[in-house]
Symmetry: C2
Subunit: 436 residues, 2 copies
């Protein structure tokens, strides 16, 4: 019977971790999602569940709730998670929900919403543990015992002076090693690594992973401690940035949830990037058209167009992927970018010689007619691969120099320009060497 | 003077975080690297520095040190980092160094080396804090105060029973909230999330990020606690796996340090993947050659080959990137993979109709001669894009089904098969509709 089924479902849900429930949600139908959320919505885990859930589902579910009960759920969530949730909702719905929140909670949320979502300010939690440097180790332990409940990352205690100015850090374990009467300012580590509210989130991720820390304090322009970014949020940032980079390089937009989008939305997101290659294709069409006279004389020339553009395109994608990832992981020093370009050109020469020679031989053996066809095809492969390695390396480096995201340069732009240039090079070679 | 310069350099180095030194190293010449390492080698940070350094530099530097002093450096390092370092060295050099290590350290290292480097056993640290469940909270704090120095992640205390069988976990903060006389087994959380020594490292990363935890305990087949994997290592795993995925999808191998490799090594790593597209190019060449008769009649047909293969290739790369990343981030349920395939086909139909129509019109307006050329070209774009969306989606899903890494399927294999199939489709269309 129905009631029994619901109660079994309730039991199952109450035993499942909210993060796992969010995972399972991806594989339910809309009706199932509504039924399950009716149960989760009553539980104390609803906030945690919503903050783990994919944006598309959050929007779907929140629209069905009335704003006052949603405001209540948000009030119980850590305020940084509440802000993340409000930011994905349509603006008018978010405003209505905010108006139903208690004044104190709303002010906390408004405070955080002033920061850009992709900055340290947008990532940070304001519920952290800080202690004045004049307190003693014993006082500190008392404070933790009384107040630590709702704070994030209580394993690092940030020490402040005056009006919450950051002065140092001490770990909970270090605190335990000192006599109760010692002052925090005597035992803290004053060399505390911090970021500013407007530090870009990729840079925050870099700091946390570079120094192997579990959280980083965030200060405003007056060096006042305003929040902390914890390592679990950093992991999400690293994952999300990698996914965006992948999609951008494939010319598929940067919507991480593209798999959850409808067919029409997915087509709409991807269409503009295909337009770039469509334009490139038209240009290549005209390039080939302008050599119609030469092609008519040696029809075999047409057979080699795809292999020349293909080999060029592939080495260009190799080069640009290596460069884009090198920029993202900090392995490329922009002041020595020319070294990378020269090296890729040398790699292009080696690979072009190898594949140009073998293709030249194939062409010579396969097509007896214009005896120099092998030379033309081999030479075209060599020059196209060298040119492609150069273009594939340079485009992302130039974009980066002008502070444009290097990932978007790689996919459609690189392969399209290689198609045009390789075709031009090859047919021009043919015209000259075959005296057409 | 030289001595003054060295002493200034020493000062600078001693003020720089070892992780930052490792970063700087990428931009030094070989001579500079040797000079700087002569100073770092004397400092207490040498172990931390080496474990942050790129593999290629580690090998270069360690080869110049004598094995006994290298053995000493390793003995001072956390044993998981020591193992990571030994595993990148040539086997005979690693063996010589191991023989110089103290028996106890060597045994610890040998213990860890039995695990696969890409498993939880290969990632874990054996220097963690565990306490028997019969101890009291007060005992536990004493143990931490006396023994916590060299342990990793003392913020989580793992609780065991009998012969180190995992029974629960408690955080250091929770420990402080309980009276000193309470037994750990009464206050611990018995629902502890753990992984097994042979859990694949990507799965370990998934567990840690899914549950937002700072470390996960590793148990052997008897549920004996043998180590922990900390979140900083997980961040490295996520970064490394993303970089490998990028390179594989571009057909550029999976060596994360390819930028540090010589020109010849880089060409060697990339050559095999280009061979796949070279073979594809030869096949395409024969496909076009077999339509020589038709091309000779309507030379304009050749002009459209690149745009047909290009549009197909681009939508295929979009589809396969979305699928590969969807598999990597757990957004694709393999039991419902057919849904993804159907959706991508629908996207292919929409985009194929749009771009096929506009290209058909361009062809009709640009080339008066065979009046049906527009229909042929438009139809070829449509069918090529639908077919490409299908192939681009299916290949990674099929690879995944056979437990082959989906990333390697994307780059060269997909684009090469699309080149062949699109050309064939297009020329076959032309032959039929134009009655050639």
């Amino acid at each position: 019977n129905r009631r029994g089924a619901t109660s079994n479902l309730s039991k199952l849900i109450s035993k499942t971790h909210p993060a796992d429930m969010a995972w399972v949600f991806r594989h339910l139908t809309k009706d199932e999602r509504t039924a399950v959320f009716n149960i989760i919505g009553e539980s104390e885990f609803v906030g945690e569940f919503l903050s783990e859930l994919d944006d598309a589902f959050v929007i779907e579910l929140v629209k069905e709730l009335d704003p006052p009960s949603m405001a209540e759920i948000l009030s119980d969530m850590p305020s940084d998670d509440a802000v993340d949730l409000l930011e994905i909702l349509p603006e008018d719905l978010a405003d209505t929900i905010r108006e139903h929140m208690k004044k104190k909670d709303r002010e906390e949320v408004d405070e955080l919403m002033q920061y850009h979502p992709e900055s340290a300010g947008g990532l940070m939690s304001p519920d952290f543990m800080y202690l004045d440097e004049e307190l003693t180790a014993g006082d500190a332990i008392n404070v933790i015992q009384n107040r630590g409940e709702d704070k994030e990352m209580v394993f690092y205690l940030y020490i402040t002076h005056g009006d919450r100015k950051l002065s140092g850090v001490i770990s909970l374990r270090e605190l335990l090693l000192h006599p109760a009467e010692q002052k925090l300012k005597e035992i803290m580590n004053p060399n505390v690594i911090s970021v500013s509210t407007d530090t870009e989130r990729g840079e925050v991720a870099h700091v946390v992973s570079q120094y192997n820390i579990l959280a980083v304090p965030v200060v405003d322009s007056n060096y006042t401690l305003v929040g902390i970014v914890t390592v679990d949020d950093i992991i999400d940032v690293i994952r999300e940035e990698a996914t965006e980079e992948f999609l951008q390089m494939a010319g598929a937009g940067k919507d991480r949830e593209i798999l959850l989008k409808s067919t029409k939305e997915s087509a709409f997101i991807r269409a503009p990037w295909l337009f770039a290659s469509w334009i490139g294709g038209i240009v290549t069409m005209f390039v080939i058209g302008s050599f119609e006279h030469e092609l008519a004389k040696v029809i075999a020339l047409a057979s080699f167009i795809p292999i020349v553009t293909g080999m060029g395109g592939n080495i260009a994608v190799q080069s640009s992927t290596i460069v884009v990832r090198g920029i993202a992981t900090g392995r490329i020093n922009m002041n020595e970018a020319y070294k990378v370009v020269f090296k890729e050109i040398r790699v292009g020469i080696i690979l072009g010689l190898v594949y140009g020679t073998v293709l030249g031989v194939v062409a010579f053996l396969g097509f007896a007619e214009p005896p120099l066809l092998g030379v033309v095809v081999g030479g075209a492969i060599l020059s196209s691969m060298v040119m492609s390695a150069f273009v594939g390396t340079s485009i992302p480096l130039i974009f980066k120099r002008f502070d444009i995201d290097a990932a978007i340069a790689t996919g459609p732009f690189v392969t399209t320009s290689i198609d045009i240039l390789s075709t031009l090079l090859y047919l021009w070679f043919a015209k000259i060497f075959l005296n057409l």
